[in-house]
């Protein structure tokens, strides 16, 4: 089979190029840890009995501290809201990582710069999306499966957290916010 000399050169060039691209992708994933949430084999859950489950019963939703500046946030996505549970207790507000509601009644997650948060989320009804703007948090929330991902908040600001998978008439109203502050812990603890 005849392949032109120039065409051969081109094939070598793009093969090297694709190799470099793929090496970069693997480096980003496995050295720098930018990995999409994936099945770990034990991620199944029955969407009809979430209220009786360990992770997603009404008491376990919301934010908990699991270590030095290390938090877990459990959320149930449902038509058409992210259920972050009831407002956080005073101890969490004192720790600077807590959930309250904005004037429209939508959940707001407050954290401090440098906090590490693992989101653990599932759906009660239909497939939803979960995207935190400008952070590596982006997944499909598929009923029957638990998705989890860990993120470090390096930037101060207000970030939109949205459902990105069309889920019915009020899909566009399904969102929340994350507010990252650089306030030192003391000033928050003084209740100021």
């Amino acid at each position: 089979m005849h392949i032109d000399r120039l065409e051969r050169t081109w094939i070598i060039i793009f093969s090297v190029m694709l190799g470099i691209f793929f090496a970069t992708v693997l480096a980003a994933g496995f050295i720098f840890g930018v990995r999409p949430p994936s099945s770990t084999g034990d991620s199944f859950i029955n969407p009809n009995t979430l209220d009786q489950s360990i992770d997603f019963n009404p008491q376990s939703l919301g934010i908990v501290s699991v270590g030095e500046r290390e938090f877990e946030v459990r959320v149930v996505a449902q038509m058409w809201a992210f259920n972050f549970g009831s407002p956080s207790p005073q101890a969490m507000i004192d720790a600077g990582a807590y959930i309250d509601r904005d004037s429209a009644g939508l959940p707001v997650l407050h954290v401090r710069q440098g906090d590490h948060v693992t989101f653990i989320i599932t759906s009660r009804d239909i497939t939803h999306g979960f995207l935190l703007q400008q952070h590596n948090v982006n997944f499909e929330v598929v009923p029957g499966h638990v998705a989890r991902t860990r993120v470090t908040f390096n930037r101060v600001g207000e970030f939109g957290l949205v459902c990105h998978e069309y889920c019915g008439i009020n899909h566009h109203n399904m969102h929340a916010k994350v507010i990252v502050t650089d306030a030192p812990l003391e000033s928050i603890a003084l209740g100021d």
Binding site: S39, N46, G129, I169
Partner: protein, 572 residues
């Protein structure tokens, strides 16, 4: 191009094709396919800009007629991406097969049956969407459920394409019997590769519809599995985009050289590219599921690798077509200035048919690069389901594919009435406006997506979230939409003008359809390239390996599988 009567084998069948214009059978069969495609497009295309206007904070206009955003979105996707493309591709494939092999289809009756099934299917699906009972978007997964007529309609459309593909395969088999040891012309080779891929791919969506969506919409089963339907859909979903792309490649590889008066640089490498698309288009679909919780990381990495491999045929195409364009530029006086790139300036930039294809290619370069970014396992976390993705596939589907189809229409429509293209100047502006509009739209959507703006969301609705950093880019996308709206209006003016107002007759030599009837006999191609059985076996084995574990892992019969109830709340 040669007239039919000069070919030695034309004695064995009665049909002689006219040098320009269509014969009676073609006029109806091809004409009706193109007609339905354009009718669907006329609604689908207009709904696009109005979605951009609705999402732009500066406008927030309500969409006319289809005020429920997600109904308009479903129509835009189904009419443009499923109906326009499928009917266009079937009509185009019948026409090219007949003309290229210089023989009629094996069975006109079967082709008509296929058209009838597709037409009835279209009406059934349209009924469900227009009555607000199928607001499930064109990527339909459980547990979102549409009216049963939507799924039955899509099933009939797919069955119709299978019958049409069968007619083409049989026509090829008969040709092959009379042409032992000859290579089939490249255009037909690509059509065969396209339908082998299409039939393999539609098996995924057929299983999804027949075992899950249709029985559930009829109330036969009560529950379903959301992750499994997503997997089955994307078994089909990625080859679907190559099903759209291959006819555009046929135009670039086999028709553009004729329109430029040169020979394709390498016929054999083109065949290899089509084979690679056919084989690698399916085992890459997990790149649409990179952030799904029910798919393992191993599967994601392997599908990511294969996605990089499926870019190889497009990179081969880039060289082959560029080298062919260089020949054309040299013929019209290029001297290798500007680092050898001045051939590009010497192409016939005044011809709307050529310009449509060239603009499509330029958009495809952007589409290809953004596609590789989407395919990157780790980068995808920043891009999945943002408006970036919409920007990407408007470079490929609404850019390269659509503009090339428009380029084809600009010579195919004149054949229907035997009259020249009406107002080529309008056609030229239509193409250039579309190209510019798509660049502006893509820039707006892409950048908004990088800032985290999601796709498929009615951002003009009360209570919807619009972050300040999205605002300028969503507005820019609406500016692009405005240009695209003007271009669409021009397109339909040229279509109707050519069909009903054009007076000048087609020229017997220069207006003949640009379809080759022979393969070059001075280029050696290994015979295995045309052994379809071997490649079908390769497709089956690759997909069992690449998709089997993904499906098996997603099915947990104790917990996940069949535990999800259908969703309501899809219509206002």
């Amino acid at each position: 191009m040669q007239a039919a009567k000069q070919l030695p084998h034309s004695k064995t069948h009665a049909v002689e094709f006219p040098r320009v214009g269509l014969n009676f059978g073609e006029l109806w069969l091809v004409g009706l396919h193109i007609g339905v495609a354009l009718a669907a497009l006329s609604i689908g295309i207009l709904l696009g800009p109005f979605q951009a206007f609705r999402r732009a904070p500066a406008l927030q206009w309500e969409i006319p007629v289809f005020s429920y955003y997600y109904q308009a979105l479903t129509l835009h996707g189904v009419l443009n991406a499923l109906v326009f493309t499928t009917f266009f591709i079937m009509g185009f494939s019948y026409f090219v097969t007949q003309r290229s092999l210089q023989r009629p289809l094996k069975s006109q009756a079967a082709a008509w049956l296929a058209f009838l099934l597709m037409g009835v299917g279209l009406l059934l699906a349209a009924y469900a969407i227009l009555t607000n009972q199928a607001n499930v978007l064109y990527t339909f997964y459980a547990p979102m459920l549409a009216h049963w007529s939507f799924y039955l309609g899509l099933t009939l459309v797919v069955v119709g394409t299978w019958i049409g593909a069968g007619v083409i395969f049989l026509t090829y088999r008969d040709w092959k019997k009379e042409h032992q040891g000859e290579k089939v012309p490249l255009a037909v080779f690509a059509i065969l590769a396209n339908f082998v891929m299409w039939i393999s791919a539609t098996i995924g969506v057929a299983i999804e519809i027949l075992t899950m969506l249709l029985p559930q919409s009829l109330g036969i089963i009560q529950t379903t599995d959301a992750q499994v339907t997503r997997i089955l859909f994307w078994f089909f979903g990625h080859p679907l985009v190559y099903f759209w792309l291959i006819p555009a490649y046929i135009s670039w590889y086999t028709m553009l050289p004729k329109q430029l008066g040169v020979r394709l640089f390498s016929d054999t490498v083109a065949r290899v590219a089509f084979l690679m698309i056919m084989i690698f288009a399916i085992p890459v679909g997990v790149h649409h599921l990179f952030v799904d919780p029910g798919v393992s990381e191993v599967a994601k990495v392997f599908h990511s690798i294969l996605t990089f491999i499926v870019s190889i045929p497009s990179l081969l195409t880039a060289f082959n077509i560029a080298a062919t364009l260089e020949r054309a530029g040299r013929k019209s006086g290029s001297r290798g200035r500007l680092l050898g790139l001045d051939f590009f300036l010497r192409l016939p930039w005044g011809n709307p048919i050529v310009v449509a294809q060239l603009c499509g290619m330029m958009l495809f370069i952007i589409g290809g690069i953004t596609g590789m970014m989407n395919a990157s396992f780790s980068l995808n976390v920043a891009l999945h389901n943002t408006s970036w993705v919409v920007g990407h596939f408007h470079m490929t589907l609404a850019g390269a594919v659509f503009l090339t189809y428009v380029g084809i229409l600009y010579w195919l429509l004149p054949q229907m009435r035997g009259r020249k293209l009406w107002r080529p100047g309008f056609a030229w502006w239509q193409v250039v406006l579309w190209f510019s509009g798509m660049i502006v739209f893509g820039l707006g959507m892409g950048r908004a997506g990088l800032e985290g703006a999601m796709r498929r969301t009615d951002m003009g609705a009360q209570g919807a979230l619009v972050m300040p950093e999205w605002v300028p880019w969503l507005n820019l996308a609406a500016v692009g939409g405005m240009l695209l709206l003007f271009s669409s209006i021009l397109l339909f003016m040229v279509v109707f003008g050519t069909l009903f107002a054009s007076k000048e007759k087609l020229d017997e030599t220069e207006d003949a359809p640009p379809i080759g009837t022979t393969a070059p006999n001075d280029e050696y191609a290994p015979p295995i390239i045309e052994r379809w059985g071997v490649w079908v076996a390769v497709i089956v084995i690759t997909n069992v390996i690449m998709w089997g574990p993904v499906l098996a892992q997603a099915m947990n019969f104790a917990l996940g599988y069949w535990s999800v109830a259908p969703a309501t709340g899809l219509a206002p």
